[in-house]
């Protein structure tokens, strides 16, 4: 079963990378980064599982990673909103 989820993580990772580099929309890039982070977390937790037992250290890394991911998402969204406002103001006064 862990091989199955590793393949799923690889597919999600590839999809997120294509989305990240192809799109021009900043919001879509943030979504792609989040999907990429989820794929990496999935790979870490899959690697932590084995027949001999579950390694708790990757679980901890993923737990802190989720919180860091939401922090970066919030900061990036705030920057996108500000960039948008700056651009609109720039267009208003030629």
């Amino acid at each position: 079963m862990s091989q199955f989820y590793a393949v799923l993580a690889a597919l999600l990772c590839g999809m997120a990378l294509i989305g990240l580099f192809q799109t021009e929309d900043l919001l879509r890039r943030i979504l792609a980064l989040n999907v990429l982070a989820s794929a990496v977390f999935l790979l870490l937790v899959t690697v932590a599982r084995s027949a001999e037992g579950i390694d708790p250290v990757p679980h901890v890394m993923v737990l802190t990673g989720i919180v860091v991911a939401v922090s970066t998402t919030a900061a990036a969204l705030a920057l996108v909103i500000r960039a948008n406002e700056a651009r609109r103001r720039h267009e208003d006064e030629p």
Partner: protein, 312 residues
Amino acid sequence: MSVLAWGFDMLLAAGLLWLAWQALFTQRRFSAVVNFMAFYLLMALVWVRLDAPDIALAEAAIGAGVTGALLLTALGRLPAGTSVGADPRRWQRPLQHLAMAGAGMGVIWLAWSAYHLPRPGLAGEVTATLDATGVSHAVTAVLLNLRAFDTLLEIVIMLAAVVLVWSLGPPLGPPLRAFAPATALPGLPALSHLLHPFFVLVPVYLLWRGTHAPGGAFPAGAVMGAGGVLLLLTEARPWEYLRHHRLLLHVLLAAGMALFLVVALGGMLLTGTFFAFPLFLAPTLIMAVEIATALSIALMLMAFYLYGEPGQ
């Protein structure tokens, strides 16, 4: 049973791939964001399948709850048109493809080397030292004792993100209350008002559970933060309270980091090593740090949601 489990895994994987595809490649931003929220909900189910209940709890509250609310609110503040990104020039195209290929190769190499690490990693070592940590749940032990330095740095990153969001100043867009749905449904604030004690009760329960079972500071903080965002969505009253007590707000935001540092330095004074606590004090200290961290995480998640410092 195994056929059922296999079918469930297949369904889950197909759903995840479909939702990720929809989130990344549909035309409309709104449907992309909504699909992305559903993606996180399915991810929480995947964590349960992979025997990681701590992560499932945090993912359901943070991923589907707080990130979804953040994205939806940002969407309401952005204009309806599509793009704010710069169009890539013609000569940039090959570079873009090169970067994509390079990143892809790097990820494949990382995955390959990660997959060939010796199993089961550090599980044996963690179990062997569990008695000396003061808690009996392995994830909490690693989080707050064995690798506490990582957790401290993670809290610092979160605080830095809050400072970044606040220092950008309040956004010009429509004020937050315009998106608060309280105006539409008069029954909803009353119901949530009645049920809010439960949003405090559940994190406290998770915190208490964290010493011996899945739970602990991160899921508790996540659930409390998600509850706080719901509170902000129905009525801004607690934030109004904090707006008039800005010193208290700042202290609470920094409480997790501050207590962590105090404990670490105290450990250094007592035992000579940074972050080494004596065993008889460890359960108490870990509980105190957990309470402060959970409170800080909850408040920081609420702070992200507002996109600006209250009272400015």
